[in-house]
């Protein structure tokens, strides 16, 4: 927990390419920026998912590797000395009485700013949940979507569900810790790492784990906390397992997360904006890049760059309400660092 409030002009949520370039456009207009990203490094998808893949549609670069583009952007915004809060997810956004926005992260970092720029890309990656009626009632009371501390499961009866690498890996790992491990998979084969799949089959043969294939989760029961998991197999027979914990491991899917609760106009998991300045329905909050939507929207980095430029021109009036904005070319005036 940090008690020091960070003060800035623009708080940019998301440090992907579009969030980074917004710092440049804001900097030209003398606006200071602070970026927040849930990932531990800058670059968003480019650094996290495809750092070595080439991108062919950045103007002026016939071909550039994703990570190289991120590095170039970091170089480009250096004169404007942005602040970074990485590895923390933005949880709360509120407008204070003096018109200042207060942005709060999962780790308690608080940023006060004059305008908020949401450049969140695909959103946050959250665990994909199976469709079980009373699943939510047992979250944190026996249902966990990730293994944070394996010791929690020592000498417990656990059921893991899923067929991907993480389901296989955790089954192997927890086989030595838990009292009883059951892995439930909808299919009858595993397409994940062959080594892990082989190990899981071997553990099942040795009786160290209980492997139930061609079956899926049907319901869960308990009294306050989880007590049993019910499956349905291919023959439509119900299987009941006593369980202290159920760990569904169905991968991560991109979600808007807390942003969805900020009273912004949302259309199909994207934030609706006015294309004049990429403002949202709340004055002082902008959305740029893949997270916004408008008629004709193209999810391209270059579109996000354009959106950032127009956003900055508009955000200026929130940061410097008494000043008149005059448009200047970098070729004429250069880039004047802070």
């Amino acid at each position: 927990m940090s008690n020091n409030i960070i003060h800035t002009d623009l708080c940019i949520i998301g440090a992907g390419p579009v969030g980074l370039f917004a710092v440049f456009e804001a900097g030209l207009l003398k606006m200071r920026c602070h970026l927040v990203d849930v990932l531990p490094q800058v670059g968003g998808q480019l650094s996290e998912i495809y750092p070595h893949k080439p991108i062919y549609d950045i103007p002026g670069f016939p071909e550039i590797k994703a990570q190289e583009l991120v590095e170039n952007l970091m170089e480009q915004i250096k004169p404007f000395d942005p602040g970074f809060t990485l590895g923390e997810r933005v949880e709360k956004l509120e407008k204070l009485e003096n018109g200042i926005f207060a942005v709060q992260t999962s780790d308690g970092t608080v940023i006060h700013c004059k305008a908020v720029v949401i450049a969140g890309g695909l959103g946050c990656f959250e665990p994909r949940k199976p469709e079980i009626e009373n699943l939510l009632n047992f979250e944190g009371k026996g249902v966990n979507y990730m293994v944070k501390d394996p010791e929690v499961y020592r000498d417990k009866k656990i059921v893991l569900a899923g067929g991907g690498d993480s389901a296989l890996d955790w089954t192997i790992f927890l086989a030595n810790i838990a009292k009883e491990v059951t892995l439930v998979h909808r299919g009858d084969t595993f397409r994940g790492a062959p080594d892990s799949a082989e190990k899981v089959f071997k553990l099942a043969e040795m009786g160290k784990i209980n492997l139930i294939l061609s079956s899926h989760l049907m319901k869960i029961n308990g009294n306050g906390s989880l007590q049993s998991v019910h499956l349905l197999n291919k023959a439509k027979e119900e299987i009941t397992l006593d369980a202290d914990y159920l760990i569904p491991l169905f991968g991560l899917s991109p979600k808007l997360g807390p942003i969805a609760d900020w009273n912004l106009n949302i259309d199909k998991s994207a934030i609706s904006v006015n294309t004049e300045d990429y403002s949202t329905n709340i004055s002082g909050i902008y959305a740029i890049g893949d997270i916004n939507t408008y008629p004709g929207k193209l999810k391209l980095i270059l579109s996000g760059f354009h959106e950032g430029a127009l956003m900055a021109q508009s955000a200026f009036k929130h940061v410097f309400p008494d000043q008149k904005l005059s448009f200047k070319y970098t070729t004429v005036y250069g880039v004047n660092s802070f």
């Binding site: 998912i49 695909l122 994909r128 949940k129 067929g163 909808r186 299919g187 991968g251 899917s253 991109p254």
Partner: protein
């Protein structure tokens, strides 16, 4: 022309006809035809919101690559007939197939 059948979320079945040289993937085509899919990740096999179940003609399609298989493997409700529309090119392989729109809407 390539013709195939799309069953929407309400169970309504429609014939789709597109030229051979359309040069789109199936997700892009479904979006363009205003079918109800999110396609959050824009075709990178990351979100699985463009999942379809191939009810007929699965064997005609090019086999799924690792990235698509990895994603399908993690889904709680994927079937052996499930594919990601973003990983399927719209070409003659789709001739006569029947798909049902499935991916998550939230």
């Amino acid at each position: 022309m390539i013709q195939f059948t799309v069953i929407d979320r309400n169970g309504e079945s429609k014939e789709v006809e597109v030229p051979e040289d359309i040069n789109l993937n199936l997700m892009e085509l479904l979006k363009a035809a205003e079918y109800d899919i999110l396609a959050t990740c824009g075709g990178m096999a990351l979100c699985a919101t463009c999942r379809v179940d191939v009810e007929s003609g699965l064997e005609q399609l090019a086999e799924a690559q690792d990235q698509e298989l990895d994603m399908l493997d993690t889904l709680p409700d994927a079937q052996t007939v499930s594919r990601l529309a973003c990983q399927l090119r719209v070409n003659e392989q789709l001739q006569g197939i029947v798909i049902r729109i499935k991916g998550d809407l939230a």
